[in-house]
Amino acid sequence: MDLTPIWLTLKLAAITTVILLVIGLPLAYWLSKGRSIAKIILEAIITMPLVLPPSVLGFYLLMAFSPKHGIGEWLHNTFDIQLVFSFKGLVLASIIYSMPFMIGPIKSALQQLPLSLSQASYTLGKSERETFIKVLLPNIRASVLTAATLTFAHTLGEFGVVLMIGGNIPGVTRVASIAVYNSVETMDYNAANIYSMILFCITFAMVISVFVFNKYKAKSPLE
């Protein structure tokens, strides 16, 4: 039994979650403040992976990062970076695909905090950055945990996007969800069952832990 796809999946989910936390916190904060056309368009783009078929997203990413076209060609010629059929490509695709799961709960939680909390901090001479770190962030801790957990769990279950951009290369891009598909294709139902059971148990434990931490008030992905 080859457990490499499980480790690869966990590694992909962990890297994606950490990167999305770093990107998602300031981005969600910016989106939570007021409305503008630019914000509406950006939010629509971030939300698209929720409604778009993963294979469509994967197809466009494959085209965009192909070494024979546009950005992919430029990355290949300038920095010798190839994103398609590589682990780096999987990370990039996962970041795009899971972004709404990180941004949504954090943005919603920030919008639900009373405006007077930030205002009080400003009148006390505190900068916007200090207010965000010391006042706002500690008060949306539960939502940040929910967002990180959902992002991690969602990345574990990716299939269409990773198959399109990463293919099915053992030890490089064959993550657990693809290993399940591959096992079924080769009639190895025992392996498919073990991969599936491991994924099921991990995601179930994560969702339960969020419910417990949030005192049975887990947020939905779009809240």
């Binding site: 909390l117 009080a120 400003y122 009148t123 006390l124 001479g125 900068s127 006042v135 008060n139």
Partner: protein
């Protein structure tokens, strides 16, 4: 001396109202601001603090321009550093009483003095959710005082305090305001709220 001349549109039903105020406040004075609900009393305080921008106006504090819509000057709330007591207290749910004051000041003696004035010295490790309404209101006042403000803006600051607590708190606050030469503007709808304080009165009525 604080000189204010502002004009700010207020959302109202039906239509729109305009908050138009031209007033001067002597340094170290206490002014009670009253008026009907929705008149813009809270908005007026927020304009002074820099939290709300008026359509037109000028604010001068000791000859320093805080706001001038003609020259497009507006000092940030961080630089104005007024002591602001919000009507909803705006306490930080993640911080204890002690942490609220330490967020503002690192002077332990000053913090202790404030805690004694507000009678919160035995509640230092409590978070707002574990304080009564009156205790939360006192903490909001102490937090605003912790920056040693030259200008104090208070929105219904004593509404949750019982008469005994209020009569004990106000002399303590007054002594600090005298010491810091603080100018105080207090919004209140209750005519008896400022018993124990000699205050000038100002009525706000929108146009």
């Amino acid at each position: 001396m604080i000189s204010i001349d502002i004009e700010k549109k207020l959302k109202a039903y039906p239509g729109e109202q305009v908050l138009k105020i031209a007033a001067q406040f002597e340094s170290s004075s206490i002014t009670k601001i009253y008026g009907p609900s929705g008149a813009g009393k809270s908005t007026f305080l927020k304009v002074i603090a820099g939290l709300v921008e008026p359509e037109r106006g000028k604010i001068l504090v000791d000859d320093v321009v805080w706001l001038d819509t003609i020259s497009k000057t507006s000092i940030s709330p961080q630089k104005r550093k007024v002591g602001f007591v919000f009507q909803n207290y705006a306490l930080f749910p993640n911080m204890t009483v002690q942490q609220h004051l330490e967020y503002v000041s690192d002077d332990a003696q000053w913090i202790n003095r404030l805690l004694i004035i507000g009678k919160l010295e035995t509640f230092t490790s409590h978070k707002p959710e574990h304080l009564s309404g009156g205790q939360q209101q006192r903490l909001a006042i102490l937090r605003a005082m912790a920056i040693r403000p030259k200008l104090m803006l208070m929105d219904e600051p004593f509404s949750a305090l019982d008469p005994k607590m209020k009569s004990e708190l106000i002399p303590g606050l007054k002594s600090i305001w005298d010491e810091l030469e603080t100018t105080v503007l207090i919004v209140s709808h209750n005519p008896w709220e400022l018993e124990g304080l000699t205050a000038r009165e100002m009525e706000i009525n929108p146009i």
